[in-house]
Every structure is written in C-alpha cells, then in structure tokens.
C-alpha cells in the first residue's frame, strides 16, 4: 500500500497531477450544477411574480 502511494519516488508528481485533473473535471460539474439551480430559481421566481400579478389584476 505504502509502495503504491510512493509511485517509485514519483508520488508527489503523480498524485498532484491526478488531483489537478480530477479537481478540474469536478469543478466543471459543480459549475454546471450551479447554473442549473440558479436558472431554476430564477424561472420559478418569474412564475410566482407573474401569478401574483395575474391574481391582482383579476381581483381589482
């Protein structure tokens, strides 16, 4: 196990690059999730505003 993490003396370089690569790919995923939840929130807010306006128009 220890031998595996040492990577024949290249451990630092190997694990640093794997961390950078997987971190980069994960960042893309999180960014996409952020976009999705932001747009969802905005669209729902617009819907609520529209419905409120509509109900106000019919009651007054």
């Amino acid at each position: 196990m220890k031998e595996f993490f040492a990577m024949g003396g290249y451990g630092f370089y190997v694990w640093l690059s794997y961390a950078v690569a997987l971190g980069g790919l994960l960042a893309l995923y999180l960014m996409t999730r952020g976009c999705e939840s932001r747009v969802k929130r905005q669209l729902e807010k617009r819907l609520r505003l529209e419905q409120r306006r509509k109900s106000r128009d019919t009651t007054s």
């Binding site: 290249y10 370089y13 690059s17 950078v20 690569a21 980069g24 790919l25 999705e36 669209l43």
Partner: protein, 246 residues
Amino acid sequence: MWKFIHKFASPKYFYNISGKILPPLGWVTLALFIVGLVGALFLSPPDYQQGESVRILYIHVPAAMLSMSCYVAMAITAAIGLIWRIKLADIVAWAIAPIGMTMTIIALITGSVWGKPMWGTYWVWDARLTSELILLFLYLGFIALQTAIEDTRSAARASAILALVGLVNIPIIKYSVNWWNTLHQPATISKMGKPSIDASMLWPLLIMIAAYMCYFAWITLKRSRCELIYRERNSSWVKKMVKEAS
C-alpha cells in the same frame, strides 16, 4: 436532410432529445472513468524509461487532445451561429468554452508536473507549450468577450469571429512537435493501427480518452440545456414546463 437539421436546431426538440441522452451518457462516462483509472493506476506497468511517472500521461494526453478538439467544436458551432443565425449553435459554443479552458489548464498543469521529474523543469518556452498557452488565452478571450457584451446576439457574433481567427493556432499546436525541434515528444498514438506504445499501456489510455470525450459531451449538453431554458424563458413551452414542475 435540411428538415432534420432545422428540427434538431429547434430549442424544444433539442431540450427533449438531450434530456433522454443525458442519463445513460452520464453512467457510461462514470463507468469509463472507473475502468480507465483502475487501468491507469493499477493494471498498467511502469515505463522502462519514465518509471511510475508515466501514469500522469493517462490523464494528460486526453486533456491535451480535448483542449484542441473542444476549440474546433467551439469554433465550428460559433461559425454556424454566425452564418446561419442559429441560436442553439451560439448556446453550444458558449457551453463548450469553459470546458475547453479547463481541459487546457489540466493539460498545462499535468504536463508541467510531469516535466519536472522527466525534463528537469516545470516550464520551457518550446513551441508545443507556448502554443498551448496561447490556446488558454484564446479561451479566456472568448469567455471575456461574451461576458463583456450585454446583448447576447452581438456577444455571440464578436466572440465567434475571435474563435475563427484563433483557429490558426490549432494546427500550430498539433504539428509543433514535427515542425520545430521541441523538448515535447511527438504524439503518443501516432500511427493509426500500429501505435508505438505497448498494448498494456494503450488500452487504459484509449479508455481514458473515451471517458474524457463522454464527459465533455455530457457537460456540454447539460450546460447548453441550462442556458437554453434561460434564454427561452419567455417562450410558451418553457413557461409551461416551469409551471408543471413547480
């Protein structure tokens, strides 16, 4: 044929089709990454010259390949948006830009981390490394232009022109190792059908390339859909969908 393209370019059709493709594509991507990483870290042998540091190449080579093909895909879709004024093409180009930028950053960093023990330096101003750095600036320029211009139509037009001009850089990156005497070695998989690396190292590399490509497609579709429903927020089908979902 043309009818098919127009149908696919319609936002609603694209949204429905991509929604069906996304879940299986996501699972395939995950499976490819698991198999590829196990192959790269455990099953493949250390290189006779590079030792264990060769394992960096399984994540470096796919990122470097994708950094270039993302750029080509981005430039093509941006050009389609510019010429035929297809909104969906603009959106896809917008979606690809940060993915390509991330791939370029991964390629540059993993490359220099590999270069330190192998070449003795993190960075040299050789043709391959410099042109890849220029690629990063092209992506940055594309994204900066899009965020700087308020109107989405003119933002897409301006950044499409930038993307097309920057396309010259792609063959320079690709052939830099052949044109100039660089420190960077030539292509790992050079001859189709008869690669210069052993099968035990080739299969994890090919699976990692496939994994990166599927991930690129998956994120591109997800990001495109996200931006698409925002830009189409005033259309009746999006309104209906939001109403049904809430």
